[in-house]
């Protein structure tokens, strides 16, 4: 028992004294979180529209002024040639050429607006046009002094306001735990292997399993500390809201760390040199950064991709964590994701035991 205790304290010291490990497990993900939290993807998108009206009469000028008040539009005014050039550059979603007496002359005969559409942004152009249409309809009804048949009354119901940071936080925790588990193990153990540390240890009566277990235990501890720091910074600095049970959060994190430690040791077993670790580890980890539901939801991906993405180890992990942290999901709600993590964990730890050993296997 003395051996194991000393091993755990030693591996914790080694981890804490490694600047590289601290950089990748704490500093970098924190910077990412603060940057993404500050940018704020919560504000809705705006559309650039170009208005061409050489000498608008008062009614038309008023119409343009009202358009400018709408937050969805960023209105640019200019000559037709300039605005068309801007459209071709991709700086406008649509350009609208307006008759000068759009409103003032509408009583005599229907006025025509010419809309030039940016072919590169068909979806945005379509919604801009329908908003313009709606606005024009309203104006014609007002001009015709038609009675109002329908009104929409909006009533606010108190609901949880899910901000982007709330979405990001669980995903970022899952990603950081993955990075920590894979890289801190793979770099260190391949270095141990390459420099002969493992061979030196093999000459002592210490069981290799104890050494691996002590290092794994240290990293499980690190993953919990890491998670606490992220939640604290997210809540205190970036106004994130965390609902749900912290016990379940810890369960997900420990299970996720265990699963990725399996991946870390598998990489350690396969990689022959420290130089080959980044390539090999990133080959496995990098796709998950984008497909594992960290920065944007899996449901926003193309259908065929979703079928692959949702079965990635990181996806199970980030989904379970997000369900708990943003929706107060219970154990039964995330049972499927936990099962997914357990299966991946078993597979990866199995792969690790097959590939990783203290002594090179002799061919003889």
């Amino acid at each position: 028992m003395n051996t194991f205790r000393t091993l755990v304290t030693s591996s914790a010291l080694i981890f804490l004294r490694s600047k590289q490990a601290l950089f990748f497990t704490l500093f970098m993900p924190l910077v990412i979180m603060v940057i993404f939290g500050m940018i704020g993807f919560d504000t809705p998108p705006t559309y650039d529209i170009g208005i061409v009206a050489s000498a608008p009469q008062p009614g038309t000028a008023q119409f343009i002024a009202k358009l400018k008040e709408l937050k969805v539009f960023k209105v640019h005014e200019g000559t037709l040639a300039d605005e068309r050039a801007a459209l071709e550059e991709g700086d406008r979603t649509v350009v609208v050429a307006m008759p000068d007496d759009l409103i003032d002359g509408a009583a005599q005969a229907p006025r025509e607006l010419v809309v030039y559409v940016n072919d590169g942004q068909p979806v945005q152009a379509q919604s801009t046009i329908s908003m313009l249409n709606q606005y024009l309809d309203k104006t014609s009804l007002a001009l015709a002094q038609a009675p109002t048949f329908f009104t929409l009354r909006q009533e606010k119901v108190a609901s949880r306001d899910l901000k982007y940071i709330d979405f990001l936080l669980p995903g970022l925790i899952a990603m950081s735990v993955m990075q920590m588990s894979v890289f801190s193990v793979a770099f260190l153990f391949v270095q141990y292997k390459e420099k002969g540390v493992l061979r030196r240890l093999a000459a002592t009566p210490m069981r290799p399993f104890q050494f691996v277990a002590a290092n794994a235990l240290t990293r499980l501890g690190v993953s919990v500390v890491q998670t606490s720091i992220f939640i604290l910074v997210g809540v205190l600095l970036l106004n994130a809201t965390v609902v749900g049970s912290y016990v379940l959060v810890a369960l997900c994190v420990v299970l996720g760390a265990l699963m990725f430690l399996g991946l870390g040791f598998t990489v350690s077993g396969i990689a022959k040199t420290v130089e080959s670790v980044p390539a090999l580890a990133n080959l496995l980890v990098f796709p998950m950064l984008f497909l594992g539901g960290t920065f944007f939801p899996i449901s926003s991906m193309p259908n065929w991709l979703q079928h692959v993405a949702k079965f990635l180890p990181l996806s199970f992990f980030s989904t379970a964590l997000r369900e708990v942290m943003t929706r107060d999901a219970g154990l039964s709600d995330i049972a499927g994701d936990l099962l997914g993590m357990l299966v991946w964990g078993a597979l990866l730890i199995g792969a690790a035991t097959l590939t990783f050993g203290f002594q090179e296997r002799d061919s003889a």
């Binding site: 003395n2 051996t3 205790r5 000393t6 091993l7 030693s10 010291l13 080694i14 981890f15 804490l16 004294r17 490694s18 420099k195 002969g196 540390v197 061979r199 030196r200 240890l201 093999a202 000459a203 002592t204 009566p205 210490m206 002594q359 002799d362 061919s363 003889a364």
Partner: protein, 353 residues
């Protein structure tokens, strides 16, 4: 004395077992020195006391090469035993098989009467190891590293005393990667000593060290050996083997070509010593050839070369002849055979090429 033990011993003798085999079989059957003492009525020297390592018919074959091609030898308790040979001779492979770090293709190894293949853990408690490339944990200090390694043996050590033994006491809070090459090797020996091993293995301990650091390390090895620890080392340095080792196994291409004390190796395989001298006038070659123990004589560029099996007698005669025949000896050099010559004579090639 018709005890089961006496019966067993007479059966063993009838079956033609050697002493070592009988002792090992007894140990395997659970007999200890205490049992034997009780049976014989007086205290018994521990089994296998003379030989601490027994290697028999050791072979290591890889897919395309044979690194060790069937070697047998024993290491005596308390000696410094050297395995000398060029790079690629199979020294490190042999050492690592004895340490239990590599599995032999065939053959057996016993340390302190324990089988390395089947009693690996007990063996590891009895040995200390300094591998060729000794690296430790970058994040730990020397003191922390020693405490960690001691815990592997369920021991608590005084790390500072161990560091003082290898003259690194002032480095206790330094990291291993801050040490010089010689300091690293000395620290590696300190780590190898945390369990007070019966045998300490050193794999090319001074390769890459400067002359001063080598001498320091030799002193340390002698000091460790003087405290009763058997030392087994590999080296491709003649001087190291000559200075440190009580007995030397000369290895080449996976086999042991000779094993003896340095003196015996030199006497048996070193060839003749050469006396080179100049004199005020040329000395008659038949006169020189007639001196005691002289093997051959030649004269070149004013220098006489006299090969002798026993330089003491030849020199005695040479100075006598100088007085009686009236020639004066100018400069004189005696070239004794070295292990280099032993190796050349045994294998037909140089140790380092």
């Amino acid at each position: 004395m018709q005890s089961p033990l006496a019966q067993y011993l007479s059966d063993a003798a009838n079956a033609g077992m050697t002493m070592a085999e009988a002792a090992r079989a007894l140990a395997d059957a659970g007999w200890t020195t205490a049992h034997l003492a009780a049976a014989f009525g007086h205290s018994v020297v521990p089994m296998g006391s003379a030989d601490v390592i027994e290697v028999a018919d050791l072979v290591k074959r890889y897919a395309t090469t044979t690194a060790v091609a069937g070697i047998s030898f024993t290491v005596r308790r308390g000696e410094v035993f050297g395995i000398l040979g060029p790079n690629g001779a199979g020294k490190t492979t042999t050492l690592e098989m004895i340490e239990g770090l590599r599995n032999p293709t065939s053959g057996s190894i016993h340390i302190d009467g324990l089988n390395v293949a089947t009693q690996a853990n007990a063996v590891k408690h009895r040995i200390g190891v300094q591998p060729q490339a000794s690296t430790f944990f970058d994040g730990l200090t020397l003191r922390e590293t020693l405490i960690l390694f001691a815990s592997f043996y369920d021991r608590t050590v005084d790390p500072d005393a161990l560091l003082a033994d290898v003259q690194l006491q002032e480095k206790a809070t330094s990291k291993v990667n801050e040490l010089s090459g010689g300091q690293k090797q000395r620290f590696s020996i300190a780590v190898g000593l945390v369990n007070e091993p019966v045998v300490l293995f050193l794999d090319e301990p001074t390769t890459g060290l400067d002359p001063q650091a080598r001498r320091n390390l030799w002193d340390l090895v002698r000091q460790v050996n003087a405290r009763g620890t058997t030392v087994v080392l590999t080296t491709h340095y003649m001087d190291e083997a000559e200075v440190l080792c009580d007995r030397i196994a000369v290895m080449d291409h996976g086999v042991i070509v000779a094993l003896d004390t340095t003196a015996n190796l030199l006497a048996a395989h070193g060839g003749d010593a050469i006396i080179e001298f100049t004199s005020d006038r040329q000395v008659d070659e038949t006169l020189l050839a007639g001196l005691r123990e002289v093997r051959s004589v030649r004269h070149e560029d004013g220098t006489h070369f006299v090969a002798t099996a026993q330089p003491r007698h030849t020199l005695d005669d040479l100075f006598g002849a100088g007085r009686t025949q009236g020639f004066a000896i100018g400069s004189l050099t005696l070239k004794r055979p070295s292990l280099e010559d032993v190796f050349l004579n045994l294998t037909g090639h140089q140790l380092r090429e």
